[in-house]
Symmetry: none
Subunit: 222 residues, 4 copies
């Protein structure tokens, strides 16, 4: 087992004492701050330590290397989004399709835009880090949650849920990222949610095999 050695991405030790918890949090927080203020290129372990008010050595007490530090921050961010999406999906089960889309878009966009700067910075971190696996896992979880939710829609059924949920999730990512990274007509900031709803709802309606449940009318009209 070399899961906790220098090459690992896992945090090194789990803090037990209260003081340690404070320290880890400070380091964590400092990492985000440095990321925002200096950018990922200028994020060095020393700078993080300085910002956190501890010494470099202390940073290495809790994270075996720089990657694991960034990994932790990235993971937290992604988990926040994922959790948010998963919870929304859970709540939205057994609703009509359109309600699902509205709820899903809201959950996703809200989570992403809660910390705009952080989101932006972390796109870069994800690139520098070999975080493919993590991103893949996260994506998988969100797709699963989405698929499961869609599967319970009262007014629609889908042939290929894994494909549909992949498309819905990744279709939301494109415009959202473009907006976060600042390329997008200004008005998009406001319109993003509605447009994403239109996009996903139109797509899903097109693919839906309508269900003649009592409570559901034809969604796609015509």
């Amino acid at each position: 087992m070399d899961t906790k050695n220098t090459n690992s991405l896992e945090p090194r030790k789990t803090p037990i004492q209260a003081r340690s918890v404070v320290t880890v949090d400070a380091i964590f927080e400092a990492t985000v701050q440095v990321l925002l203020s200096e950018g990922p290129q200028r994020l060095t372990t020393t700078r993080v330590a300085d910002r956190a008010g501890v010494s470099v050595g202390t940073v290495y007490q809790y994270y075996p290397n720089k990657q694991s530090l960034l990994y932790a921050v990235l993971e937290q961010h992604l988990l926040r989004v994922t959790t948010s999406v998963e919870q929304a999906c859970e709540v939205l089960r057994h609703q009509p399709l359109t309600d699902m889309v509205v709820g899903l878009v809201k959950a996703f966009v809200d989570a992403k835009t809660a910390h705009v700067e952080e989101s932006k910075a972390l796109y870069l971190v994800a690139a520098e880090l070999d975080a493919a696996k993590l991103v893949e896992q996260i994506s998988e979880r969100m797709r699963k949650a989405t698929a499961s939710m869609l599967d319970s829609a009262v007014d629609a059924r889908f042939d290929d849920l894994s494909m549909v949920s992949f498309m819905v999730m990744s279709a939301m990512v494109g415009p959202t990222r473009a907006v976060l990274e600042g390329r997008a007509p200004p008005k998009m900031l406001q319109a993003l949610r509605m447009q994403l709803v239109t996009l996903c709802d139109a797509y899903l309606s097109r693919l839906a095999i309508p269900q003649s449940t009592r409570k559901t009318r034809a969604v796609a009209g015509a």
Copy 2:
């Protein structure tokens, strides 16, 4: 005169002699290769020079710094995609909406997947580089082309072309990128084009203000 100096992203000098043309190409090609084989983190000017079979100094004869090297490669890639999209948009003018979508998706996905590995590597380059401006320009060009094409559709009109074209382009980017980066159900590789067509066509149909005429009159008119 000062535009080709050390801080610039512009190539340094235009080769005059024949052999130097070969050299520049070799360096450019080597950059792509190193990018693919080693990843952007391990791309160093020395490694590029080695791969190109020249000395470091030679690299710096043509590119003022490492960034400009990466910038050149990124630019070429993006321009390839952009040109492809623009040409498609031009050709597809005055067609029905669905034909447009099919053509646009094909142009975009073909261009992106023509050099899959290169595309993947360049996502990281774009992140590390301060390429925001370039990406923005490129995006802008594609949106313009798309908007102009959509504006000429024989069977639809749109209220807010800049928003619609932004959504279409960025909605295509999301799933495409996810596929290229390897997170996506395996079958997506094949299904991508069709799904994107469905996605975009559904979205556009939903937003279209239908034109009742079989033979469309002046589009921008009325």
Copy 3:
């Protein structure tokens, strides 16, 4: 906060632990030694580090760049001379002119020749460094001190003290430098002091507005 960054000429951090004080001294000393043994052209940060028995990295812990290293050495040297001259001027206040000249010349030449080799090497450093400002400040201080001293002479008054002190100081510099740099008849090494006294005293006597009083009253007055 930003004053100790990479572009500064200021030393980077003040040593806290005892051992680091030793290190800074060693680096400083090594710089002087390399300067003497290899000349300013061959002074590299690596060589300094080697001579100091530390790694390059350590050098950069205390000096943000090579220039700051040289600057520190130059500054110390110039301050040594300046202080010496200022103290002499202070002590010599209210003396007859000739005593002043004798004391001033002694102070200056002694300080300069205390570390002959160092002085020689630093002429080159000053040239390579953008030390114009430092040299100017130092010169200014010495001129001020000289002027103030001369102003208190019991047996002379001067019309234009700033010009007179400039001439005296820079007239001393010429021959001293020539001697230090090894162009000068051999006997000059011994005769320098006396000749400088003659030079300056003759000059000052020529310009002095004689004071007829044996016991001088308020100097700046009458």
Copy 4:
């Protein structure tokens, strides 16, 4: 004989054809210009070639290395000053002391200030170059000329001519250099000549063994 190889400071070949003369001049001139516009640190052979409108290779046709190029420029400058001083000394033979000093100071300062910027730049070159020997030779020539002139003064004789001439020459250098390098009260630019005359004349008068020649009165009074 390795006087014309790569390590030599001698120019490589003497141009015979007219075209060559033009080229050498252009290179020479370009060197001075680059020195002034970019400073000695940024003077590279390529930059000189560019400025001269020739290729680097051509520069190396006429100068075996960079040092020889700088050496040539420095030599020319120093020779100009030296020649000027020597000619003045020749002309001033058999004159009274004061006339000599006036003439000498004028010759020296005029030569030095004829190309102020060039003079400044060349101080740095002299430092970087191992030009000690050249400077020493030049100094020696000026001292010889001065000594010989002084020896012919109609109204004075000196015990130690080599020392006296050394002091006179180097005493002029100090203030002149300070003025050229911009540390000096502003008015000094105008006053320099007169002050140097006062300085040197006072010094020489003090050391002179008066000659009771018919045409000469006691110079220093007393």
